[in-house]
Amino acid sequence: MTNPTMNLLLFAMLPYVALFTFFLGTILRYRKAPFTYSSLSSQFLENNQHFWGLTALHYGIIAILLGHLLGLLIPRQILLWNSRPLRLYVLEIFSLAFALMALVGFVGVIERRIRYPKARTVTTPADWIIESMLILQAAAGIYVAIFYPWGTSWYSTSAAPYLHSIFLFRPDISYLVTMPFIVKFHVVNGWLIVGFFPFTRLVHALVAPVPYLWRKPQLVRWYGIGILPVWPRRPSGARD
């Protein structure tokens, strides 16, 4: 990955192809085939090992993704936080722990799908591919975290500006070209996952049911009116 054209292709072109596919794919799929948006749970078929892989994977990956997002949104504050060694270590250790959780989870779920015939019957080619990509992604991330310290700091100074440049449509790959191979791999594989996302089960992450937190318990739908809550009662007058 030292060839300049290659760099341009992978770090400046691929992101746009991936993002374009991501948005077009997820939106079209949501509108044309809403039935296919599901977690596709397999807990019903195998419930012994299920807890370990699934919980570790999700708690790990959600924390890690939030971390990536924070680094992107508030890089300065992260650097400020890291200015004291103790705080830096805390952040690094927590990040590493969550990343390991995610990796263990990913390996756990794929191992479970190989091991249990019932889980295997509900596994598609897309599942094998995306879960392998996720394992590679987590493993590469952890390798970087261990061998190129302190990632939480240099993410804010190099990766965040690169991502900013992508999102602001002024791609600047100078931050990346000098990076070690494994970092480049993490970036490229990341974009590939983003591009492949709409064609996999991962779309379930987009419909995470957060509004449940403030929803009324009971729902009623009327012909031609739609959904209204029953109890606790709506304020006076409403036909509920």
């Binding site: 296919t36 948006y37 977690s39 749970s41 919980t55 419909v207 009971q218 739908r221 009327w222 009662r233």
Partner: protein, 496 residues
Amino acid sequence: MNVRSQVSMVFHLDKCIGCHTCSIACKNIWTDRKGTEYMWWNNVETKPGTGFPTRWEDQERYKGGWEKKNGDLELKSQNKSSALFNIFHNPNQPTLDDYYEPWTYDYQNLFNAPEGADQPTAKPISMITGEYINVEAGPNWDDDLGGSPVYAQNDPNLESLTPEQREQLFATERLVFFYFPRICNHCLNPACVAACPSGALYKRGEDGIVLIDQKRCRGWRACVAACPYKKTYFNWSTGKSEKCILCYPRLETGQAPACFHSCVGRIRYLGVLLYDAARIEEVAKLPDDQLIEGQRSLILDPFDPEVIAGARANGIHDSVVESAQKSPVYQFVKVWKLALPPHLEYRTFPMLFYVPPMSPVMASKEGGVIDHVSGDLFHDIEQSRVPVAYLAKLLGAGQENKVRYALRKQKAVRWYRRALTVGDVTMEVSSRMLAEADCSSEEAEAIYRLTSLCTFEDRFVIPPMHREEAIQMMEDPLEHKASAGFGFVSGPQRGM
């Protein structure tokens, strides 16, 4: 008052012959697809027995239904934040082992097996993996008390019995059982709806049918855990949950649901109840011993002018109110108080009611002479082989007097008819029994007619569903010309 209408049901357990015709009618129409083989939206259980899924009534294990916590009503399976924290792995979700692994047989082997010394057999094959399996459980494994030491003895309702009563129930020479057909109760306070993080489940405003929006369901499975009756099922193939739809496409065209239509024992009744939606929450918080009365008080009198006005104000069509006035369910539940809701202590307010079964009560005296003139004409109800305490646990939210009331009335009606037609009981004794059972002779006559002589039209008073008001009907029909219809435009295929 907030008047709503609800298509409600009564199952007369005294008449169920346990033929499973209802289950088969349902299966053939709705659940013979991949992923639904194990589902029985309608199933018929033998009681005492563990039911389907195994021991579904044990809420310490399954955590279904509501419970009162600090004066508030909460789901037993989750609260709002735990629902999200546990979404990746639901700690209360039943799994295939709680139901059974669906199977078919390798019939081809009967034709293809090479010649040999033994007859070829058709070995069972799993409908999930396609591999040979050892069948160890099925949806009616304990039918007619088969394997009762394992199954019947594990019935959660037996907790309410004393050791003597239990012994009585299981003494071989007195063994007794009855059938308990179950569908979704289309509850007034459905736990399944409240549990769904995506808001995919809903109650239909016009008729109260509880449905799962298949396009909105994301397979979080919270409804499966929350329904105390285990009447939502997870389709392992499509990754969506499914449940009884009360055959709404049939109801909308004026036909009874398939299980009702096909019922051989004619045990099933269907009709509209008007109820007060404004008081559901308040009544759901009542203590256990007031729940039955509480639910009855939610059901409104369809002849009361105030109720009719309330119905009109809420857009309930006059034809539906008229239908409610003819509802057999209203008679059984509210007027005669013969039909009781199953496990009301789960506080979902099921709208399927059961007339408790008599036969075992009467049969307990078979061979002996019943003392016609004893001071208490109902004493054999107390001594019946299915203890009242057991029925009360199942149908009376623990209230024995509610079950006793229904049983006494049924017995009085029988004796009244016996005095009229057989003549071995005097009218005087039968009148005394009617009086003691809180029943007039007109009422007895009406109960007799609706129980024994009921025609199709008496049993199923289906309200006009007014589909002309449905949103689809407002849309330009030409827009859908040559398309796949209003429902699925793409087939219900599993996601990638």
